[in-house]
């Protein structure tokens, strides 16, 4: 998994909770590299699971809620660090509509080895967008957080996002403005 996810998570825990909690978790996680994450490195997915599980234990917040909050945090972080990705994206639906086409293409330029989920827009009206999500890692909460973060970025206060598990393993997100 991209090192950037780990560095961003560490930063989020620091900001949202405390540097001590970060130190505690990294220490307890007993990682081979001691938690020395660099954004341009790659680390096993299991380490994220370990970190989030420890965070949940320490804070008493359920894992999905933590991941969702991280998604939201991650998007706002993107808007600062990778602003060029959002050029010409004028609305939430614009952005969601071009995730696979434009955004991921740009991500691959920077991180050729990235494992990215697939987003497929099934239908789109002015107020509602239906989108299928497929990922090996089934990080639906992360996706939800990212959508919320994006909605927040485009100034939408009340976005209703519901999800439905489909038979073929995909998850259908309904985003209503």
């Amino acid at each position: 998994m991209l090192g950037m996810i780990f560095t961003e998570m560490v930063e989020m825990i620091e900001q949202t909770f405390s540097p001590e909690l970060v130190d505690e978790i990294l220490d307890e996680a007993n990682l081979e590299h001691g938690g020395a994450y660099t954004a341009v490195g790659y680390y096993p997915f299991e380490e994220v699971v370990t970190l989030v599980t420890l965070l949940s234990e320490k804070t008493g917040t359920p894992v999905p809620d933590l991941i969702q909050a991280f998604g939201s945090y991650l998007f706002s972080s993107f808007t600062r660090t990778h602003a060029q990705l959002l050029t010409n994206k004028h609305s939430l639906f614009d952005l969601l509509d071009t995730l696979d086409g434009d955004i991921h293409k740009e991500v691959y330029k920077l991180y050729p080895d990235a494992t990215l989920p697939k987003f497929h827009v099934v239908s789109k009206t002015d107020n509602e967008l239906l989108m299928e999500y497929r990922s090996e890692r089934n990080l639906q909460p992360l996706a939800l957080g990212l959508i919320e973060g994006a909605a927040n970025y485009f100034g939408h206060d009340s976005v209703q996002v519901s999800q439905q598990q489909l038979d073929d393993g995909a998850t259908l997100f309904r985003v209503a403005l």
Partner: protein, 774 residues
């Protein structure tokens, strides 16, 4: 926080430891990042190197493909061209603009390029794909910098739709004149291809990349193939290409027309459906490994065509299977011409009957099968009096008559019979006599009677007869020539027996032919040696006084004795002895005049002229020379002609007669009243004397009607200032009658028979003596 506070100390120490751990983590992360950066840099370097190699490979591939790469962008409105000229080690880069490209394009192709380029940039076309003629720079290494290309851009470069400023029909920038434009070698065929590779946010093309390739050689080869294909398609001969199984793979229009089929119905069919294919052993290939022989279309083709078929096998370079190219030529016309030629060579052009050669072949072919049970008869038919018809009515009318008689003979021909024209007025019929016995066969008499049937000719009704000779054989004892000779001999026998009859050949008849041949050579010698003698029959006036004589030829052969003039005169005419004989007549006539005039200076001698002599324009001069040689006046020689001279086609006897009279010769018409007498001759011809035929005189004696006619002729002759001579006067009654009609001159047995010249001179002398005594 106080250092003395142990709890605070513990917290501080914990913070320090935590910060130290964090620092360690940060350090480790930095090292990790540096190491990763190094790895990435190396990877990037390798990727770049690989990229260069790939690009080099790509360039080599393009070079090997004889292609150049162009890269055009809309922002600068120029293109970069990377090419690999022959012998160059590196890529040659040059820049240019579209106007420069257009100016180098052949005027004929310019508009097409402009249209395609505009449609390409307007996204109407997915890709650019244009073939055009282009004048390459003389120096392939000449390059233009990017700045030069940009500085010479024209405003139309900035628009997708505007090439209007370029005169698309003008010569190229090299300034070619029209002669160069026509020079195919000066132009290269280029294949331009390209695709849009970049677009702006509105989707408009901003960059296009493609290749350009010199395909001149390919194009010329293609044109050469096209030319050959068109030659195949448009050949007038029917042509097909067949595979090794004889199935039609390609057929041209000529083939479709020949068999009246559509192109679709020929392909895949076997050629044997249309043409009877020749057997291998019949057709031996010639030195070019091609086979040509004659065949025909199959039974299913209507009408069936005679064909010449030529087969040539070949193996295309890209095929493992042999093919053959088959050319078919319709021989219908040629066969027809051959048949016509064959017919012409074997048939008589006038009557369309088989000719002599064909007759001969026919006889030779059937003679071996002749036997007692199956005898064969040959009939030789000669038309009697045909020459007279020819003389009177002319050749064309006579030809019509021959055609009619030939038709009659064909109609009479039995089933197994054969009739040919032997020549002139002679025909030969070959048949197998009915019931094997000539005596019971009616064919000869039918032929005889059929020929005698009257024929209408120029309004007149003509009745001819035939002399027919027949020979019959009951075994192959004689050859074709001998058979015909026997029939001919029998025919001569029929003729000598009075014509209009049939004579069957018997032994010994052939001898008369030999006899005749030897007689002709004897006659020829006699004329040459001046051994023809000339008698003279005296002519008398009303007082029975000799006033002249008619010179008459006599010949006594060494072998057979006396030969009648009615026999040897035709022999002279038929055997080309005329000229020498006529010379003898003129020479002796003039000599007789000289000798007779020594006794009586008023005497004139008449000689007979043949019709052909009056066609000879030098006749007056010849006669004058003879007269001069003997020292006699022309008036003393009288020239007797017969009416037949007026019947010669294409002749103008009148002008020669006028010239003769002008010289002083007197002209008499002989035998008037016989044959085709026409009173108009008396009116139109320059004559001095009319000699009335003996038959007329004989009739007039007994027949009042004939008497009146005779009387009228005499009266009219006198009216026209012509003297009248009565021939054949044999009785005193006749003489009296003629005297009553005021006939001036008499000739006949009553007064004197033809006699040797010496006897005539003797008579003259007696008369002269008598006169002087009186």
């Amino acid at each position: 926080m106080s250092l003395s506070d142990p709890a605070a100390m513990t917290d501080n120490a914990a913070d320090v430891l935590r910060l130290q751990r964090r620092l360690e983590r940060e350090k480790a992360a930095r090292k990790q990042a540096e190491s990763l950066l190094m790895e990435k840099s190396l990877a990037l370097y390798e990727a770049l190197e690989l990229g260069k190699q790939d690009r080099n490979k790509l360039e080599l591939a393009v070079w090997a493909g004889n292609e150049s790469i162009w890269d055009w962008n809309s922002e600068e409105q120029i293109y970069e061209l990377m090419s690999y000229p022959a012998g160059a080690s590196n890529v040659v880069r040059t820049w240019g603009n579209t106007a420069q490209v257009v100016r180098r394009i052949h005027p004929v192709d310019r508009q097409n390029f402009i249209n395609n380029w505009q449609l390409f940039l307007s996204d109407v076309l997915d890709s650019l794909d244009v073939l055009l003629r282009y004048r390459l720079p003389s120096d392939p290494y000449r390059v233009q910098s990017k700045e030069q290309a940009m500085s010479c851009r024209e405003h139309h470069e900035l628009s997708h739709s505007g090439f209007e400023e370029i005169d698309i029909t003008a010569g190229t920038e090299a300034g070619q004149n029209s002669e160069l434009l026509e020079d195919d070698q000066a132009w290269r065929w280029l294949h331009w291809r390209g695709r849009i590779v970049e677009r702006d946010k509105h989707g408009s093309p901003t960059r296009a990349v493609g290749t350009v390739k010199d395909v001149t050689n390919y194009r010329r080869t293609q044109q050469s193939y096209l030319l050959m294909a068109q030659a195949f398609a448009n050949s007038r001969d029917a042509m097909v290409i067949c595979d090794q199984h004889g199935r039609i793979r390609e057929a041209n229009q000529g083939f479709h027309s020949m068999f009246r089929i559509t192109p679709a119905s020929a392909n895949g069919e076997s050629l044997a459906e249309f043409v009877v294919m020749p057997e291998q052993q019949i057709c031996q290939p010639n030195s070019n490994h091609s086979v040509t022989c004659e065949t025909q279309s199959t039974d299913t083709i209507n009408p069936q065509l005679p064909l010449e078929i030529s087969l040539n096998h070949f193996q295309p370079e890209d095929s493992s299977q042999p093919f053959s190219i088959v050319t078919l030529r319709d021989l219908t016309e040629r066969k027809r011409s051959e048949a016509t030629l064959m017919h012409m060579a074997s048939h008589d052009g006038l009557t369309d009957l088989p000719n002599r050669g064909t007759l001969h072949e026919h006889l030779e072919s059937i003679l071996p099968r002749v036997s007692v049970q199956q005898p064969l008869a040959v009939m030789f038919i000669d038309l009697d009096g045909f020459k007279a018809v020819n003389d009177e009515f002319g050749h064309i009318a006579a030809d019509m008559l021959l055609i009619s008689q030939a038709r009659r003979l064909k109609r009479l021909l039995p089933e197994n019979g054969f009739v040919a024209r032997w020549g002139g007025d002679e025909f030969v019929m070959v048949w197998r006599p009915q019931s094997g016995n000539l005596n019971h066969d009616h064919l000869p008499s039918h032929v005889l009677h059929s020929i005698r049937e009257p024929l209408g000719l120029n309004g007149a009704s003509i009745r001819l007869s035939a002399s027919i000779g027949i020979v019959e054989v009951t075994g192959p004892t004689l050859d074709a020539n001998e058979l015909i000779r026997c029939a001919d001999s029998a025919m001569y026998e029929a003729k000598s027996q009075g014509r209009n009859r049939i004579q069957v050949y018997s032994q010994g008849m052939g001898k008369s032919d030999q006899h005749r041949a030897s007689l002709i050579s004897e006659l020829s010698l006699a004329i040459e040696q001046d051994r023809i003698t000339f008698f003279v029959q005296p002519k008398f006036d009303a007082n029975q006084r000799i006033i002249g004589g008619e010179m008459l030829a006599r010949w006594t052969s060494d072998s057979v004795g006396f030969v009648s003039p009615s026999d040897f005169i035709p022999m002279i005419e038929q055997n080309g002895l005329n000229a020498a004989f006529a010379e003898a007549v003129m020479r002796n006539g003039c000599r007789y005049v000289r000798q007779a005039r020594q006794t009586d200076p008023t005497i004139s001698i008449a000689i007979n002229l043949s019709g052909w002599q009056l066609l000879d324009t030098s006749l007056p001069e010849k006669l004058r020379v003879h007269c001069e040689n003997e020292g006699i006046p022309c008036e003393a020689l009288e020239l007797e002609i017969t009416e037949s001279v007026f019947l010669q086609p294409d002749s103008d006897p009148v002008s020669i007669m006028n010239r003769l009279r002008k010289r002083g010769f007197r002209i008499a018409i002989d035998d008037f009243g016989t044959g085709y007498s026409s009173l108009s001759y008396l009116r139109d011809m320059p004559l001095d004397t009319v000699k009335i035929d003996r038959s007329f005189v004989i009739d007039a004696d007994a027949n009042e009607r004939a008497h009146k006619i005779l009387s009228a002729i005499v009266a009219m002759s006198h009216q026209l200032d012509m003297k009248v001579v009565a021939e054949g006067v044999e009785t005193k009654d006749q003489w009296q009658l003629l005297r009553d009609l005021d006939v001036e001159i008499y000739q006949g047995f009553l007064f004197g028979r033809p006699m040797p010249f010496d006897d005539f001179l003797q008579l003259l002398r007696q008369q002269s003596t008598l006169k002087s005594e009186v």
